[in-house]
């Protein structure tokens, strides 16, 4: 018997992910409705243009379908898992193309999650993600410019530390130190504000 996606809107992510693992494309469609926008925002930032971002969204949800059995809600939320897949695929694509998209931070980030609630994720999760997004943005502002730049180049442009060093014309050791200290400061800031990955 076919189930319409609208019949599944009330289910939580864990239940939907189990259904996806059992082969329900309808359950994946509901998760897509919930998180397609967040994934697109991230992939567009990583890839530098919307078209590439849309293509990446396809790849992310196809991979989420193929690897559905490897997701465990005990280890974290579905959206965290999706964003991790997105990052991996973007880095693969960027390195494959051997091109560099727009500089991270060249466009001011705006509220991504403002309409997510309309598509049905829980209020708690939406609040958690919004809080993490806000605290993270503030945490980045506390970093010295050179540390923030190194972290952003690595994360958003998929550069290795060596490539960051070449791009900035700095010694590799300097970049390693900047990333290490930057990440430590970010971690301490997030823990101080008691936010964690959902």
């Amino acid at each position: 018997m076919t189930v319409a996606p609208t019949d599944l809107l009330g289910l939580d992510d864990a239940e939907l992910s189990r259904m996806v693992a059992d082969g329900s494309a309808e359950a994946l469609e509901v998760l897509y409705l919930r998180y397609g926008r967040v994934v697109l925002a991230f992939s567009t930032r990583m890839m530098g243009d919307r078209q590439s971002g849309e293509e990446l969204v396809q790849e992310v949800f196809v991979r989420a379908w193929r690897r559905a059995r490897s997701f465990s809600s005990d280890r974290g939320s579905y959206v965290t898992w999706l964003l991790s897949i997105t990052h991996n695929l973007c880095i693969d694509e960027i390195r494959k193309r051997n091109r560099r998209p727009q500089r991270a931070g060249s466009t001011d980030p705006v509220q991504v999650l403002v309409n997510v609630r309309d598509s049905g994720p829980s209020v708690e999760l939406t609040t958690e993600l919004s809080e993490l997004r806000t605290v993270m943005a503030n945490a980045m502002k506390t970093l010295p410019d050179h540390q923030r730049q190194a972290v952003e180049l690595a994360f958003y442009q998929g550069l290795t530390q060596r490539e960051v060093a070449e791009a900035l014309d700095e010694p590799l050791g300097t970049i390693k130190t900047r990333i290490r200290l930057g990440m430590k400061k970010l971690r301490d800031y997030l823990e101080e504000h008691e936010v964690s990955a959902p």
Binding site: D22, G23, A25, L28, E29, G36, R37, V38, A41, F42, S43, T44, R45, E54, V57, Q58, V62, W65, R66, R69, S70, L83, S84, H87, N88, I91, D92, R95, K96, D108, P109, Q111, V112, L113, N115, L132, R133, V135, M136, A137, M140, V151, A154, F155, G158, L159, Q161, R162, V164, I179, R180, G182, M183, L186, R187, L190, E191, V195, S196, A197
Partner: protein, 279 residues
Amino acid sequence: MSDQPPNSSALKLVDPAGECSFCRDHLGAYSLQALDRVDQGLVEQHLRWCADCRNELVRHEAITTGLSLQGVDVGVPAPSTWMAISARLTEDDETTVPSRRASTSAGQASAAGRGARWLPISVIAPLVLAVILLSAWSWSLQRDLAVSEDELSNHTLLNSTLATSQQVQLYSMEQSCPTCDGVGQVGVSESNDMGMVVGWDFDPQVTHDVWGVDHAGERSRVCSLIIAQDGAVMQMFSFPDAPSNFTDLLITDQSGKLVYQSHIMATDEVTAPSGSPAS
């Protein structure tokens, strides 16, 4: 500090505390995926056995998720995006997701079976030949191995379970490929300079290369894995030189990321008592 002491030279660091220190210094860059291949391999190797460092890695998850949420809102994906995804799911269901097929209706399974009957002979013939060859080789390996389960348990490596005679070493990939969840076994036969990979659940769209690392640390590409549509790998390969000239066997994905590493033990290492360092 750790689940168990390392039993491999792969990390190149003898002192476990030193390994943790090295790992933690690099965890931030590792979570950003900014390490080069060598450092990434060393960190991954360490994480396999060190629960403390794995817990430390979890502390970085909020950072990467938080960074992922700093995207620029460009609205919802175009309607055509879901249509394209949906079409690919249908394709997958018919060709590459056998585990799901089992849970679908008998009618669907039957339809998939009908599709299989139309595979061209040019595809089936090499597969049949490969199965015959592998079966013969597998029988030969079993005869060479001739080791009991107790003996097998006495030869456990950091990331691999070793079953061996003087001719053959088998390593099982205890952790799945971080890129595509593939798992399986790697075999090395010193007697005929041959190797073998048998695996499953590999992503056929991700290229995987097999490399040998010689005593000077130089890598030589051995082959690319041929992954069937259902994710299975059954492949034999020849080493470019005698296996004893290699210290490690690596598998990398298409981005060059290290997904599996085995220290190839020399015969004298193989017969060492359980628990003694392989290096």
